[in-house]
């Protein structure tokens, strides 16, 4: 098990950004009225945001990062690294982080690269980058977690189209000798990689005309090979089996108990799935917040978007014992225990 501790790293701030175009489940023409009601009640999504044509991950990421850099009054010349967690980069190559570095006008002394992860990506991104920070390592870093899944959704797939939404986040981390340790556990299972994937468009199945032919599946679902395929039941069973014991192990390893945690911010996968995890861990509802009703499942951006949605206040600093947990694509699951102190969390902003 990949259990790691990051020392002397503080989270200074979090900023999130979503497209302004709101898509309401009640407007989804393939759902009957009963299906709309059941979906909103059980899966938890009422609305989500989709990018308009031409807007990419880099655009949302730059907006979130610029807002954060301004709010923290950081000098861009001090930023050592800009890392983007995404599965929807602007181009197949190079990493979208380079484009963001350019748009933010960060200096050439700044390293930029992408990490290809989704649901668990925010936590694994924090683990990766915080382990690269320290006295003789990086001092100031921006971690971006952004996805625009709407581009790869089939309108005729009821299991994905109403579930996912687009969103971006930027998190500022700084070397700080007084910062408390951050604890991480990360795990993966590549056997089930095809429980959530896009079949064509990579090097294994290069996209061609046949990739865009619509195929009909059971239940009236239609999609082509460039659309997201989700085996909801496999992801559900994986998540409710793997996530609760990982959080219990994390608590044991960092010598804390679930009762001492102020908030559990989890990946906004699907409300019934997250509620099963919450009930198995016997966590009270007020310490296990949601943003899925407003923004849907926003992949790697969903944990920071939930933090912004619940805690966002430009005039307050957040302090709290916090567990973060992301789970899904890979399959992978990752949890972190972080004592936030003096962290500026901005409210969710609309991309303009």
């Amino acid at each position: 098990m990949a259990f790691t501790i990051s020392e002397n790293v503080a989270v200074r701030g979090i900023s999130t950004c979503v497209p302004s175009s709101v898509h309401d489940i009640n407007d989804y023409s393939l759902f009957t009225e009963t299906e709309k009601k059941n979906f909103i009640h059980t899966v938890g999504v009422q609305k989500r945001r989709f990018v308009s044509e031409g807007i990419c991950s880099s655009d949302l990421s730059v907006a979130a990062a610029q807002k954060l850099i301004d709010a923290l009054n950081w000098d861009k010349n001090d930023i050592d690294a800009i890392i983007l967690v995404t599965q929807s980069g602007d181009y197949p190559i190079p990493s979208t982080a380079f484009i963001i570095q350019d748009h933010l006008q960060l200096p050439d002394t700044c390293i930029a690269f992408d990490i290809n992860l989704g649901c668990s990506g925010y936590v694994i991104g924090l683990q990766t980058i915080s382990s690269m920070m320290g006295k003789n390592k990086f001092k100031k870093v921006i971690l971006l977690a952004t996805d625009v899944p709407s581009i790869n959704l089939s309108y005729h797939d009821k299991s994905t189209y109403p579930l996912f939404g687009d969103g971006a986040s930027a998190t500022a981390l700084e070397y700080d000798e007084c910062a408390k340790n951050m604890y991480f556990i990360t795990q993966s299972n590549g056997r089930d990689f095809d429980a959530l994937y896009i079949p064509h468009g990579g090097m294994r199945n290069f996209a061609g005309p046949h990739s865009f032919e619509e195929i009909e599946y059971e239940g009236g679902i239609k999609r082509n090979m460039t659309h997201i395929v989700l085996d909801g039941m496999r992801i559900f069973n994986f998540s409710i089996t793997k996530v609760p014991p990982q959080i219990i192990t994390l608590m044991e390893l960092c010598g804390n108990s679930i009762d001492e945690i102020d908030y559990f911010f989890t990946h906004q996968a699907n409300k019934i799935m997250n509620e099963t995890i919450r009930k198995k861990l016997k966590i009270q509802a007020d310490r296990f917040p949601y943003s899925i009703q407003e923004y849907g499942n926003t992949s790697s951006a969903s944990i920071p978007i939930t933090m912004s949605h619940i805690l966002g206040d430009p005039n307050k600093m957040y302090k709290g014992e916090t567990v973060l947990s992301g789970f899904g694509i890979g399959l992978s699951w990752a949890s972190a225990y972080i004592s936030f102190e003096n962290t500026l969390i901005l409210p969710v902003s609309d991309y303009e």
């Binding site: 009963t34 059941n38 059980t42 039941m233 069973n237 409710i240 089996t241 099963t276 198995k280």
Partner: protein, 79 residues
């Protein structure tokens, strides 16, 4: 299995808005009698996992039609 089939039925009724107390019995065909869908399957699987720590798959319940069939499948998994 810690629960009788009556207890099992009460727990199912508690999970679904449109199934008032006393509306289900062991012979109720859950596929026809309460708008069975993949979303409702998740509600049922969630309750069964929380209450009995049992994981069900779509294949597991394929042969099941009645509440009694479901109860037998969960009981068997607990043996």
């Amino acid at each position: 299995m810690k629960d009788s089939i009556e207890d099992f039925i009460v727990k199912i009724e508690n999970e679904f808005e449109n199934t008032p107390s006393g509306s289900l019995n062991p012979d109720t065909n859950f596929r026809n009698d309460f708008e069975w869908s993949s979303v409702n399957a998740l509600i049922l699987f969630s309750m069964i996992n929380i209450e009995y720590d049992v994981i069900l798959t779509a294949e597991d319940i394929q042969p099941a039609h009645t509440i009694s069939d479901l109860y037998q499948i969960v009981s068997k998994k607990l043996q």
